[in-house]
Symmetry: C2
Subunit: 223 residues, 2 copies
């Protein structure tokens, strides 16, 4: 019975996600859902990404946390429109659901926005199960988390369209095999692009920005 109920919740979410998708598509907004473990560096990645693209791609951010507005405060400093969702208003949810995105989007000025980033709740499990109406999903893992995460959390890596391998500036101080994590990602999701970045040090951003730009432009191009 429990499973049936979960199925029902997911079905409702699916419908709402589809509504979100139609709404964002109509507005010409590309939506990117960014997910990771707590502390993998999503917010720093976003700060540095926004600083690099803001002159060419008009962006906004929805950021989810159970508590605090820390991340929204940091992101607001980049000058983009930001709304913080605190899931403790929704029962302390461990993920952002589609109805939460609909509500949050209503609080943003989306006029002229090309790209809406959604920084999900830090959790490598549950957010992977919830479609929010995005165009693509990105998983961020940091090298301090070990090489085995793709194998241990396969759903997350399977549903994502790209991965960011963050904190590569710490590699000299870790017993970490870069090839092993790349192999593990390949096992779970062959062909998925992986961007090796140090968000804090500003290393490796070019291919990531290029990918983002292509994603947004491809969506805007007439079909």
């Amino acid at each position: 019975m429990e499973i049936k109920v979960v199925r029902k919740v997911l079905d409702v979410n699916e419908r709402m996600a589809q509504q979100n998708r139609e709404y964002f598509t109509k507005q010409g907004i590309y939506v990117l859902n960014i997910m990771s473990s707590p502390g993998s560096g999503k917010t720093t990645l976003l700060e540095k990404t926004l600083a690099r693209i803001s002159s060419e791609i008009k962006s906004a951010v929805i950021v989810g946390d159970i508590c605090t507005t820390n991340d929204a405060d940091r992101l607001a400093k980049t000058g983009v429109s930001v709304v913080q969702v605190n899931t403790d208003e929704f029962g302390g949810d461990c993920h952002l659901a589609a109805h939460v995105i609909e509500k949050a989007a209503g609080q943003l000025d989306l006029k002229g926005i090309d790209l809406l980033f959604v920084e999900n709740v830090g959790n490598l499990v549950c957010p992977a199960e919830f479609d929010i109406g995005e165009n693509a999903k990105v998983v961020v893992i940091s090298v301090t988390e070990g090489e085995d995460k793709p194998l241990k959390y396969p759903l997350m890596f399977r549903v994502c369209d790209a991965a960011v391998l963050n904190k590569i500036d710490l590699l000299p101080y870790l017993d970490y095999e870069r090839n092993a994590v790349l192999e593990n990602i390949k096992k779970v999701h062959p062909g998925m692009p992986v961007f090796e970045i140090s968000a804090t040090k500003g290393i490796g951003f070019e291919p990531w920005i290029k990918w983002l730009r292509n994603q947004v432009n491809r969506k805007k191009a007439p079909r």
Copy 2:
């Protein structure tokens, strides 16, 4: 309606956790539930802890992951009895529930065991909500995750009896304020002991082992 159902699931879990607790108490086994984000170093902490205590405290481990037996394979090398739970058998659960612990415990030889470690699924959100019949809960956070985690995931820090601040060997390479994280833990859970450790480098184990020893002995002492 959704909330009611969740409540029911939690009630069932609560009852099963109480049964586990009675069972373990009768066997004289102290149960410690270890939780963290993915990649915070729970397994390495356990490996090094087991190596240090095995001569005086007879231990066993239940380790939870969605997939893979990586952690059990690593822990089995320490010579203790280990059972791996893969939650993909239970719908890919993002936490260990009490009924899973009951099943796993049945696969362990618990004769003469003083201390049962439960390494939970890597997730700083959901496992905090599920009593498994443990005597105490410990949260592990690594310094690479940033100082704000106690404020962003307050339930986890509120329900735990101790915290391990891991990977302190990386502090020289990070822009990390140790005092800030200690302050944040204090705000959420005043008085909770915090053990500053580098599991990989074997630093800071003495106070942690002392705490463990006290926990196990206090339980065994006649009341």
